[in-house]
């Protein structure tokens, strides 16, 4: 490595090393890994988080060594979230399309496989009342803007697990009782306004509103969602679904 070649004597200025150290604390954070796990987990055949045992091979040399234990805990929590992913994805992952779900983009491999797109570590919310009615929060408050993941603190495994539990509850009731789904979503929003699964929550919220026939609220929520998650594949799908109605 650094002492293998004369060029290494040239080195880098300390300030660049500090910048690299900073980058190493941000990129590939446990929270990012957990969110990514929630998205690809179903595809990788990981229904049982306990099956996630690190292989004998070493993790990436240097930069992230030593983090695997903590990372695994978060990955496990995220795979609880992958159940949410399945609920959000509907037909794409679980083959259980629901009538209110926007159609999956079948010719896009990433969309076919996983449509739960947790992202975020969004900004703390604006000054919202602690327990606002769902419809108000949907129309009035701006969603925490997407992606600040690099600078965001990693959520604890317990928090992520609880987020996943709430959204799983919402996802599982959305077909039979979208009102109950909205209640679970509102609870998630109250307890985790800047949660790691904000993206999932909003996808579920829009689906629930559509299921209830609340098209106007769904449109408002979608507009807010699109501002916060402009590159989410769900934006175009919901827009298409709303246009089709």
């Amino acid at each position: 490595m650094s002492d293998e070649h004369p060029i290494d004597a040239e080195g880098l200025p300390p300030v660049v090393r500090r910048a690299i150290a900073r980058a190493n604390t941000e990129d590939g954070s446990d929270a990012q890994v957990a969110r990514l796990a929630a998205r690809v987990g179903p595809v990788f055949g990981l229904p049982d988080p306990s099956s996630l045992v690190p292989s004998g091979s070493a993790p990436a040399a240097g930069a992230k060594a030593g983090l695997l234990g903590g990372k695994l805990a978060l990955v496990k929590a995220a795979f609880a979230g992958s159940i949410v992913a399945g609920a959000v994805a509907g037909s794409a992952v679980l083959g259980t399309a629901e009538e209110d779900a926007p159609p999956p983009a079948a010719n896009d491999p990433a969309m076919v496989v996983v449509t739960s797109t947790a992202r975020g570590d969004p900004e703390p919310p604006p000054t919202e009342p602690p327990s606002p009615p769902f419809a108000e929060t949907a129309s009035a408050a701006e969603l925490p803007r997407d992606r600040r993941a690099a600078a965001a603190p990693a959520p604890s495994a317990a928090a992520l697990s609880e987020e996943a539990r709430l959204l799983k509850r919402a996802g599982s009731s959305i077909g039979a009782d979208p009102g109950a789904a909205l209640a679970a979503i509102a609870e998630h929003q109250r307890r985790f306004p800047s949660g790691a699964l904000t993206h999932e929550r909003e996808v579920l919220a829009i689906r629930a509103l559509l299921a209830l026939g609340k098209r106007g609220e769904a449109e408002k929520r979608l507009a807010r969602f699109a501002r916060a998650f402009p590159s989410s594949p769900h934006v175009a799908r919901f827009e298409e679904a709303l246009r089709g109605r």
Binding site: M1, H5, I7, L12, P13, P14, V15, V16, R18, A19, I20, R22, A23, N24, E26, D27, G28, S29, Q32, V33, L36, A37, R39, V40, V43, F44, G45, L46, S51, L52, V53, P54, S55, S57, A58, P59, A60, A61, G62, A63, K64, L67, L68, K71, L72, V75, P109, A110, V113, V114, T117, R119, E123, R147, R148, A149, A150, A151, P230, S231
Partner: protein, 181 residues
């Protein structure tokens, strides 16, 4: 027992998809970011990488390290993404400053600024030099592994590394307004 006469079988110690994810998800996220994907899109692109990993796992023959193989997939997907993102950005220029501002934590603005400088310095490198710099200086890969990952002779990789370091150093010196040690 006779071994099946086919080259399609994975090597006996071939990693499973889940092992690759657990061991290398953070690596993929880092690489995607450092090859020039905006923070907002890193997880989307990393997801694309793992979708391809899942589809192509049977082609991994063990002749290179997993990280080298992953880098090849990631760099192609990042390249495609950057082309697409460039086109999109032309329509979204008014959105970018707000997103960028929110990535800076006021309490840690100094470190965040350093990171921003590093990103900007990396952006001045062409793709070949950037890859070598990222893999060696940031991922701490050995130079032979770097050369294998980017598909060039080791001496070429060293040459790219030298030039990349000079450019990065020059960038930081311009930012500081003075020569750096």
């Amino acid at each position: 027992m006779a071994r099946p006469a086919t080259s399609d079988l994975p090597p006996p110690d071939a990693p499973t998809a889940r092992q690759i994810f657990v061991d290398h998800a953070a690596f993929v996220l880092r690489i995607v970011r450092r090859l020039g994907v905006a923070p907002a899109d890193v997880e989307d692109v990393a997801q694309e990488v793992f979708v391809v990993v899942h589809r192509r796992l049977h082609t991994y023959d063990g002749s290179s390290t997993v990280r080298t193989w992953l880098f090849g997939i990631a760099s192609r997907i990042v390249s495609d993404h950057r082309r697409r993102a460039h086109r999109r950005r032309e329509l979204l220029t008014d959105e970018l400053p707000a997103a960028a501002v929110q990535e800076v934590e006021p309490a840690d603005a100094g470190a965040a600024e350093l990171r921003a400088q590093l990103d900007a310095a990396l952006a001045t490198l062409d793709d070949a030099k950037r890859a070598v710099f990222v893999l060696h200086e940031m991922e701490e890969m050995t130079m032979p592994e770097v050369a294998a990952a980017v598909g060039c002779p080791v001496n070429t990789a060293y040459s790219r590394l030298r030039e990349a370091r000079q450019r990065v150093r020059a960038f930081f010196e311009r930012a500081a307004g003075e020569a750096l040690p």
